[in-house]
Amino acid sequence: MPSKKSDILPHADALPPAPLPALPVLSDKSGWGQALLANWSIPVVLLLVVAIGYLLEKANIKSYYQRILILIGFNIILAVSLQLINGFSGQFSLGHAGFMAVGAYAAAYPAISYSARLTNPLGVLLYLVSVLLVIGIAAGALWGILFLIRRTRLAHPALPGILLLMLAAWLLVDWAATARSDTPPWWAVWSRGVAALRGLFGWLTSHGQPGARTLSLKIPEIIRQPLCMLVLLAGGGCSAAVAGLVVGLPTLRLRGDYLAIATLGLAEIIRIAIQNSEPLGGALGLTGIPKATTFAWLYGAAFLTTIAVWRLAYSPRGRAIVAVRDNEIAAASVGIDTTRHKVLAFTIGAFFAGIAGALYALHERSVTPSSFGVQRSIEIVVMVTLGGLGSISGAILAAVVLTILPEALRPIEAYRMIIYSLLLIGMMLVRPQGLLGGRELWPRRWRPNRSPQPVDRPRVTEVTR
């Protein structure tokens, strides 16, 4: 075993090769880690997860340990997905809990209102599709307006700014006028647009839902609930991805601390908006969500998240993302669309955070806005950083340890958070590059032998203060 590769952890190369030859896509390195990542292994591992879940249910394990196991699962998904954003694309996001909240509420709301016992997958699907359709129309219209306004620059360079200001003023006047009377005046196009979209949504709901319900009943009972789960998870993920896209497009222009604080702010805005929304239950949150997240669902999702992030991170596109992180200008100069790659990583990270949120809502049976505060975002960031930026296995390891640690410190309850914070500071001082420091526990497919871990090295822009 060459000493260069070996860290303190046993290296995957030292283990016997996988029993089956992996598919060519991933077969340039063999080992159990690679085998786990090979295509054929995905269904096998998923089956294994289901089997373990079944056994766990049968085995008489204390529910406290089961719960910790479940919490670890959530944190793995969150940490791995944030690793993509913070570790690989280098965009320091402090708003992961916001996307989790979007996913949680996006899954919880239809699960309560349309499918009390998760028996109505089509109804839920219809709801989610109508929501995304309405948002899509609104976003499209806005984008069109902004596009047209930008085009007026050709006539006069100051025109877009003036038009934009006028539009904003119109919005305010419109808002004020609508607030005063029940019937908005004819020129209140903004409010009328919103009302029209609401009408569309109501029409879709009132005309589609009964049909969806009867159709749902035709689905064999045994797959009805899993199907519903899938729809809810996809809905949660997609909603969060949309939120990630909307948040990411403007803010990813910012760098470093500014981006961190902007994402923190956006997550807080999401939380405050939810907290003030009557249909979403306000400060009390939503209660009575059916419980459907099991060990198998959660760890299946965690595994798929890991696979997806891994494959993205160590693919050519992932290399482009890492290149943008290491040196944006150099990356741009070799033809990488930097904005696109940043937004891509951000959106995908948000997608998985949304899935974690949906799973969370369907496990906890109640969601409250206070569960998605800054504190949680920070917890996830700490996991990612302690695990080592740019290391997926590190994120998983840190998620496991940092979930168990506060619980393990329960016997000295009064001091546990003090010890937790001291450990945090101590770890950062002793091992600033994190637990694995940009390495993985097993060899990754793409190994940047030429450049040693970029994260360990302060970036040029940061040395010049």
Partner: protein, 312 residues
């Protein structure tokens, strides 16, 4: 009109508190480019230590104190000393070892320090988790009216806070712009390595900045506690974040900017509550972040910040 004027006063009143905290933030950020997450918690320590000091010296209840101004001076001195020492220690132990590492590491230790102060403060043997009344009467007549014209009320403490804020702003500006230390400070904030090559003891300058920033935080904590006489170990969280927004709004690194940013943020919040209909008050905290994001997108250097060009 009277309502509008009153809201204006309200905005300045809360804004001057934000400004006071933001000044400390902006100093540290200007020199180190580090979001000192623990700043809000040092602010809390300032208030809590003042309370503990007043209690130990026997200044509670305040009626027993014969010279309230002397008592106030003693309490303030203790609070400033403790916080200055705390700031020094935090920089020396938690930030300095990581100075040549990526900034994210310092951010994580800053979060760690912040958690340590919060949970440490909540421990029964330190400050205890429950809110405690602060002896606001140490500043005699703090909450009495200074004047009231046509229904517009200005209370003494509002005026005190505003005056202290402006005074500190001028003093700091003097230190930064007119003294040798200030020159060194500016040099360090401009180009760290070159400043070191020019013979500036960068470590000392950074320690100085931290001590100064922390004493400012303590001062803010003290005034805050006099103004809102209920203190607890988590009281620094939100003012810390708001003050950061104020600092960014004004242009991070600029002392005048921090004060203006704080006042503007206070005004915006108050006006949102006052004139945005019934839901205005619900979105008050959200507005601070909306302002933050808007300013970051439109003019990231803030109102008074210098336009920094990102170097390759």
């Amino acid at each position: 009109m009277a309502e509008f004027l009153q809201q204006l006063i309200n905005g300045l009143s809360i804004g001057s508190i934000y400004a006071l905290i933001a000044v400390g933030y902006t100093m540290v950020y200007g020199v180190l480019q580090l979001i000192n997450f623990a700043h809000g918690d040092i602010f809390m320590v300032g208030a809590m230590v003042a309370l503990v000091a007043a209690r130990t010296f026997g200044f509670i209840p305040v009626e027993n104190v014969s010279h309230p101004w002397l008592a106030l001076a003693a309490v303030t001195a203790v609070s400033l000393l403790v916080c200055g020492g705390l700031g020094f220690a935090v920089e020396r132990l938690a930030y300095r070892p990581l100075r040549d590492k990526p900034r994210i590491n310092s951010l994580i230790t800053a979060i760690g320090v912040s958690l340590l102060l919060e949970y440490g403060g909540q421990h029964k043997k330190v400050f205890g988790p429950t809110p405690q009344p602060f002896p606001a009467d140490l500043v005699p007549g703090a909450s009495t009216q200074l004047f009231a014209i046509g229904g517009v009320v200005v209370s003494q403490i509002d005026a005190i806070v505003l005056v202290v804020t402006l005074f500190l702003m001028l003093t700091l500006s003097y230190i930064v712009l007119r003294t040798r230390t200030g020159l060194a400070l500016r040099a360090v904030s401009h180009r760290f390595d070159t400043a070191a090559l020019m013979g500036i003891n960068t470590d000392r300058i950074i320690s100085f900045t931290f001590v100064l920033g922390s004493t400012l935080a303590a001062m803010a904590g003290l005034l805050y506690a006099v103004k809102y006489p209920s203190v607890n170990p988590l009281m620094g969280l939100l003012p810390g974040v708001k003050a950061f927004v104020a600092a960014v709004l004004g242009g991070i690194g600029s002392i005048t900017g921090a004060v203006v940013g704080g006042l503007v943020l206070g005004l915006v919040e108050v006006m949102v509550v006052g004139y945005m209909g019934p839901s205005g008050s619900q979105y008050k905290d959200g507005i601070a972040f909306v302002v933050l994001i808007a300013i970051l997108l439109v003019k990231p250097s803030g109102l008074f910040g210098r336009n920094a060009i990102e170097k390759v």
